[in-house]
Amino acid sequence: MSTPCVQYLPSGDTALTVQFGTAIDKTLNRRIMALSQLISAAQIPGLLEILPTYRSMLIHYNPLIISQADLISRIDPLMDSSVELDEEASAHWQIPICFDEEFAPDLNHVAAAAAMAADDVINTVLHVTYHIYMLGFAPGQPYMGDLPPSLNIPRRENPVPRIEKGSLVTATGLTIIYPFANPTGWHVIGRTPVEIFSLQRENPALFSPGDRVSLTAIDRQRFDDIKARVMKGEDTIDRLRIS
């Protein structure tokens, strides 16, 4: 396996960006996840947490315990490792999505942009096993891919100030599920009734980077039923986990 070219970029004196590339690439991202696991296992004193993103990892550390130069010297030898992502360590989730018109205001726009029928867009979206590249923007918010090239459409020209919690959005060949109502520059094509971030749980964020996600279609009635259970605190996430 060829060693990707790694750049060490200081992010101040308490964080180090380890950059593997500049574009979004699933193979690269999986390698980043695998290296994150390897570095975590090395138990380097002073290392606080590792944040994997599309094409880099940000290592947060305590400069009073380890200098940036020492950190680099400890992790650099690990970069050559031909390590595979430990699939056992990541989960595979199945998330129900309702594509009701009320929840999918941008479905027709996406269909037009992709030159597909709306039903075909839905089917395509349902047939991908998504890889979570990273979580960001809001607590527990996953960036997932990859959709086929036909669905690689640009973001909105103008962002909208607010979309509802649970919204499924797409742009640039990726999808996101919104754990909180927030602005978006992406297209809204569905909604889930489950809470992907919930303070009722000891571990509020459902997803971890590197997890896999499959989406299943539910009708409006089922959406309302699940939502009612969620509101009553009867939401169990165990049934969402495939493996």
């Binding site: 200081p10 101040g12 590792i50 944040l51 940000l58 400069p63 940036q68 960001g136 754990p179 909180f180």
Partner: protein, 347 residues
């Protein structure tokens, strides 16, 4: 019987903060925590709390409370605004020392005009649930702290203690309250990058050339600056990568934004430089209208400065004078500025 502080007036933006929420940034969970981490730790030390205990961060206008506990020890740190005891007897207690109050007492902190953030600590801290191990409030997602939000009139902030553990009085020598001003105050030191290559050489030089001014568009998420625009050379979008507090993002309009306590964990704008950790508390205290210059330093210099900063903080904490006594008037007399100032050794 539950012990608490009833909010008589909420102040402008009063939130529970500790030193932040670590370990879950990979799940998109922001760090949050005190804008001035030094101030929080000093306030806690004045009431005998572990330095990282949850305390109240006060911005612009302070809150007023009624004591719903047998007794409480409270201390304000980081401003020249005092604690004003309203009833049963009027008292004015400067920041930088604690005071012990009893059930029914009413106190408030008024307008805070000299800092963007100061801290009110209560002995024993707050009986509030933690989210991912921290009591810090993350306002954008309404999580943590007191119901994920700033305090409102009528709230009762639950306390862990119903009475003070001892009649102990503490004060920082040299009185107050806010950090001694030094000639470094209007310099913010930065390390270049991580996306220095997204900017022209002229822009990289420009960052440190003229002063920038803190705009009114400044909050716990970020500080927008007014001043020289910085030219990109590779566009102003990057595939989102990780962000650390102090990162200086430059969006399309060329005006830098310094990311602060409630910043998101990832972002898609290029980052020209990052404020060093030693200068983050100073940055957290800066108010709209403040003018400063950036100055580049190396990683090694920043690490030395971080160590010096920590030593200085510990020295201040160690310098706190303390004694036990039941006579609050005597305590007031002994703790007054006149008698204990001027004894410091360079803190």
């Amino acid at each position: 019987m539950t012990s608490g502080l009833e909010v008589i007036s909420p102040g402008m933006m009063t939130t529970v903060q500790d030193l932040g929420r670590f370990g879950y940034q990979a799940r998109g969970v922001s760090v949050s925590g005190a804008m001035d981490r030094d101030g929080l730790q000093l306030a806690n030390s004045l009431v005998g709390n572990p330095p990282a205990t949850g305390a109240l961060e006060i911005r612009l206008l302070g809150p007023g409370f009624k004591v719903l506990a047998e007794s409480v020890s409270i201390a304000l740190y980081g401003t020249s605004a005092p604690i004003e005891v309203i009833s049963p007897e009027k008292q004015v207690i400067p920041a930088g020392r604690n005071i012990i109050l009893s059930r029914g007492d009413i106190f408030r902190i008024g307008a805070v005009g000299d800092t963007a953030a100061c801290y009110l600590a209560v002995e024993g801290g707050f009986n509030l649930p933690e989210v991912y191990g921290s009591q810090s409030t993350y306002l954008p997602a309404q999580l943590g702290g007191f119901e994920g939000r700033a305090l409102k009139e009528g709230d009762v902030l639950p306390l862990n203690l119903n009475h003070v553990t001892a009649h102990r009085y503490r004060a920082l020598p040299n009185g107050p309250a806010h950090q001694a001003r030094t000639e470094d105050d209007n310099v913010i030191r930065v390390i270049a990058g991580p996306q220095a290559d997204y900017f022209t050489d002229a822009a990289l030089a420009m960052l440190c050339q003229d002063s920038y001014t803190v705009s009114a568009e400044t909050n716990r998420m970020g500080m927008r600056l007014e001043g020289a625009q910085l030219a990109h050379q590779s566009g102003f979008n990057i595939a989102s990568d990780g962000i650390v507090r102090g990162a200086i993002q430059v969006p399309g309009n060329g005006l830098p934004i310094i990311l602060l306590a409630d910043c998101q964990t990832t972002g898609g704008y290029p980052k020209i430089a990052t404020v060093i950790s030693a200068d983050l508390p100073k940055l957290g205290r800066m108010m709209p209208g403040a003018e400063f210059r950036f100055q580049y330093v190396s990683v090694t210099e920043a690490e030395d400065l971080a160590r010096q900063h920590q030593d200085h903080l510990h020295a201040r904490m160690a310098s706190i004078r303390s004694f036990s006594g039941d006579d609050q008037e005597l305590a007031s007399l002994l703790m007054s500025e006149n008698l204990i100032s001027g004894v410091t050794a360079g803190d």
